[in-house]
Amino acid sequence: MIDLAVEIGTIRMSNPAMLASGVMDETGEALVRMMEAGAGAVVTKSIGVAAHDGHPNPCLVELPHGYVNAMGLPNPGMDRFAEELRTIMPAPAPVIASVYAADEEGFVAVAAAMEDAGAAGVEMNLSCPHAAGFGMELGTDPARVRSMVEAVASSVSVPVMAKLTPNTADITAIGRAVEDGGGDAVVAINTLRAMCISPEFARPVLSNRYGGLSGPAVRPVGVRAVYDLRRELSIPIVGVGGIETWRDAAEYIMAGASCFQVGSAVGRRGPEVFREITGGLQAFMESHGYAGMKDMEAAVHD
């Protein structure tokens, strides 16, 4: 059996399928369940300094090919969430804490609290498309991204990843800012800024009006982003967006991802999706003669 173990800095994963932020990751028990389902690592819900209810319902629209969501970053705040994390430590797989904040100070505070609580890494959410003041506004300005990443990377000892928004003309400029700021990896992509309107009720369905598109619909956009980033960066890339099958994961790996995250598919296919993907990937690699994931990337890029 081909070994799918992979490392991002000091984060050691038995397989490259990580749980994406925002999905089944608000409670300790949810995180453990996803580990038991086969996730190689889990990323938590994006955690802020203070507790936050998120947007009122409706905050999700189901589409045949994905979701549009505007959860609005609900989270119990860093202190309560640190408690939650402690209850599952030592965990059977690495926990990466997604953190968000409006400024450097906030990012640093949350990242530190998460490291203290046992997080094996930090994922900076620079890209949430539907929370005013947080997220995307930060994530489209390379200078701010660089200084934000610098601040966090120099204040924690665990690897720091930064999650990029696809809602920009050139994602590689942001990726480079992360690399220049000392980030250990980039994660691409977050959701695409989107809206659904109900004709019968003549209004946007989401309470926040705007939301983020995820699921199979965005996969070709995510694959493209990873491919572009691979050609510009030397730090690892974590691919995310519409991965539901081993084929989808293989596309991302060939595009240049060292590992990948699964979000929407946990709802669309169920938590079994982790084992289905990694099993299928191993079978593909064996039948096509790939000894490791880097060979798959090399087959496309070299």
Partner: protein, 252 residues
């Protein structure tokens, strides 16, 4: 995708409950629920209380959203998506159905489908739900009220315990306030009676994605809302705590 459904008929059921009948052609099984969108206000989970060609939901006035549902009239539209959840397993066991308050709503499609005896509990007579209709399908229907205004004085758990001790049930199917369900579950465990209980948690996505409805390791929206004895035993938070909209653990 949210569908706009038209309300055909509104029926008063009790002091604080009414039933909205509406056109919706999706197949629904007993115990499943929908998310109901009240545009401009909220989207909340509601069990389907009638699963025929015309569907229904039975709504207890609890706050803003349910208040708004109470204000709807025939011809009005509401948004609906689903059905969601696992629903009850139909099996051949000798069954006692126990409903506390509006918890009778998800049990009604079951009572119309399988044979069961019924225990209905409420605070007082004017809050008792579906007694009359239950009698149409079931031979044995008993009631309890906290104030004794109808049926046994006491709560639904006490009523159910009495019926279990008198009868010979293999299974209890139940829905109601969680504290009631918790005690009912313990009563069943003590007697070796199998349970299927429909639980509630705060729901946002309803499709098993966001994790806001976690109860222990289970997602109430998709792994539930109905849990059987084996799974109830494993639910760390059952009867004790729940999560608020921010994901904080709070008392029930």
């Amino acid at each position: 995708m949210i569908e706009a459904v038209v309300i055909n008929r509104v029926e008063a059921e009790s002091k604080d409950c009414l039933t909205l009948h509406f056109e919706w052609d999706r197949p629904v099984s007993p115990g499943q629920f929908v998310m109901v969108w009240i545009p401009g206000l909220d989207e909340v989970p509601m069990s389907i209380s009638s699963i025929g060609p015309e569907k229904a939901m039975t709504v207890r006035r609890a706050g803003e959203a349910t208040e708004a549902l109470h204000a709807l009239s025939p011809g009005d539209r509401m948004g609906v998506r689903g059905p969601y959840g696992n629903g009850f397993e139909l099996n051949g066991m000798r069954t006692l159905a126990v409903g506390g308050g509006v918890g009778m709503a998800p049990l009604m499609p079951l009572l119309r489908t399988m044979y069961a005896d019924v225990a209905i509990g409420a605070r007082s007579a004017d809050e008792l739900l579906f007694e009359e209709e239950a009698r149409r399908y079931c031979d044995k229907v008993e009631t309890s009220t906290d104030d004794g205004s109808r049926g046994m004085r006491g709560n639904a758990v006490q009523l159910a315990e009495r019926m279990m001790d008198e009868g010979d049930y293999e299974q209890v199917v139940a829905c109601g306030p969680e504290v009631m369900l918790y005690h009912l579950f313990r009563a069943c465990e003590a007697r070796g009676v199998h349970c299927q209980m429909s639980l509630e948690r705060y729901m946002k996505c309803a499709v098993g994605l966001c994790g806001s409805c976690m109860l222990g390791k289970e997602r109430v929206c998709i792994d539930g809302p109905v849990f059987d004895s084996a799974r109830l035993r494993a639910l760390s938070e059952f009867g004790r705590s729940k999560r608020d909209a921010a994901g904080r653990s709070v008392g029930l």
